[in-house]
Symmetry: C2
Subunit: 345 residues, 2 copies
Amino acid sequence: SRSIRLAVIPGDGIGQEVVPQGLKVLSAVLPQGVKLETQEYDLGARRWHVTGETLPDAELESLKNHDAILLGAIGDPSVPSGVLERGLLLKLRFVFDHYVNLRPSKLFPNTATPLAGRPDIDFVVVREGTEGPYTGNGGSLRTGTPAEVATEVSVNTAYGVERVVRDAYARAAARPRKKLTLVHKTNVLAHAGHLWKNIFDKVGAEFPEVTTDYLHVDAATIFFVTQPERFDVIVTDNLFGDILTDLAAAVTGGIGLAASGNINPSGTFPSMFEPVHGSAPDIAGTGKADPTATVLSVALLLQHLGYEAEAARIETAVAQDLAERGDTPRTTDEIGDALAARVSG
Amino acid sequence: SRSIRLAVIPGDGIGQEVVPQGLKVLSAVLPQGVKLETQEYDLGARRWHVTGETLPDAELESLKNHDAILLGAIGDPSVPSGVLERGLLLKLRFVFDHYVNLRPSKLFPNTATPLAGRPDIDFVVVREGTEGPYTGNGGSLRTGTPAEVATEVSVNTAYGVERVVRDAYARAAARPRKKLTLVHKTNVLAHAGHLWKNIFDKVGAEFPEVTTDYLHVDAATIFFVTQPERFDVIVTDNLFGDILTDLAAAVTGGIGLAASGNINPSGTFPSMFEPVHGSAPDIAGTGKADPTATVLSVALLLQHLGYEAEAARIETAVAQDLAERGDTPRTTDEIGDALAARVSG
Ligand SMILES: CC(C)[C@H](C(=O)O)[C@@H](O)C(=O)O
Ligand SMILES: CC(C)[C@H](C(=O)O)[C@@H](O)C(=O)O
């Protein structure tokens, strides 16, 4: 009989509140025969304050024994900026080689968008997850003096770019519109730009059915607000992908609905699924957090593990829930209950 | 008697069409006693095709003998990407030490914005112009092979960051709301982020009247579309500034209205004023280009040279022209004429 061994990292702030809702919906949607084994990991701000640890080796090893990871959110104002981001979240993405950071954007009916005229938005950003400006390369010299020099090195390899670009082509080929847009800044970042563009063109020859486009990152932000319907699949580097997917979340009704998967397509390591939003300490504990992004991340998780029908049921449930919701605000728990009821109904 | 020695680089595509309108309005607004001496430089795609030159030393020397430079747009699909951008536009910014790249964003009445609800937008981005990921540092190894590694190095110096941050504080202090937001990605780009944040805090002590804020660049894009009224002055690095100002132009009615100044505050070298838009080869020659961004760049030029009243007259003229325009599309020339008439009237 089948089973899912799931590692759960609720993390900080509203992460603690949205993750239980994701699990609730996951349990409700899974077929009878599938056993769900969850193991919770106490990682994040609390742990760091108590032990000074972000992600100890033993935990990292133990995480490998799972089919997937569900993560809530990481980060708290009480911890110096970057400590948990780099020591925990990015460490997981890098060590588990999550080179496909998958971030779908869809404007659901009956959701608020800051854009006038409600354009049709349904695209996926394939953000590279293991290289680029996120490697931590660089350093500083004469730190804290008037003669300081600080550098950040964006590292891009043919190996790393080709695998994510090929993944993006395959995703584009599997969608009805079959369009892939590369976003970079080749006219200024010429070394990395050349590498990305060359590989984009080369791999494109394997996917003649996919229409391609290229946009500089600055121009891409314009189209995100003036013509988002022009996008189908986007492939881009780690930093541009970070920026563009927050913007994408904003135009599709907010960060409360944006799901993501940090995927290791080879399956060597567990993939990790998390809402794009952060720990939101300002609303933590109030019951106001929207668990929908986490629930949609659970759908990505199911898709990744081959439970296509169950993933689709969650997406339909979310679309219906948004379409039919009234004006009365609901708590985190109420939204989770409503979604769980829909997927099991 | 006073005079303005102006270097003019119309450049490519619609640059050739909008620059004459900028000059028309400049002539119309200048007081009787001020002599305008213009010298045109033939730089851009045509020149490169004919001579292979982007910016010869002799021209660079000659450009120094001017009080300011008015530039239209640079770039053409017939020239390999990056050649003119780096060999001409960025070279001017770097050699003339244009460390303040000033980009105001204002939502004028009666202009289209993709944002529902028409928020109040009136902010200025102070984009660093001479360092960061724009230095061309980095390179590639085993280029074109499956083992290629390509790097881009963002170079940040205390010298470079402090001067632009101080300029931004001074601009914030001179505005009614007196608010300065630093945008960076300190939680990931920790070396450069630390430098920027430290200097931002240190210089802030000299400006106790200025309220400060910090945002990660990804979060900043969200607020650009959901709450742009929260911004007054923004200071950020070269690449983040590039991205954010295109987005800012998009939400304030389009790239056709976005002006910029590449400023060398010390006056050692001439400052350069240019619309944020590019050469737009698709509409070049059709008379459809909106010269308003160039005309507003002329206002920034006048402000920089101390002609405050004249700069203000141009801004008022643009606001009135936009408010009173009808539905009939106007040509580049007609808009230039209308603005020239308003400023001289
Ligand atoms: C928290 C931060 C390190 C992270 C990132 O920059 O990748 C976040 O913004 C995201 O997009 O998942
Ligand atoms: C053309 C390009 C090099 C330039 C830049 O990236 O600075 C442009 O996008 C701008 O913003 O002025």
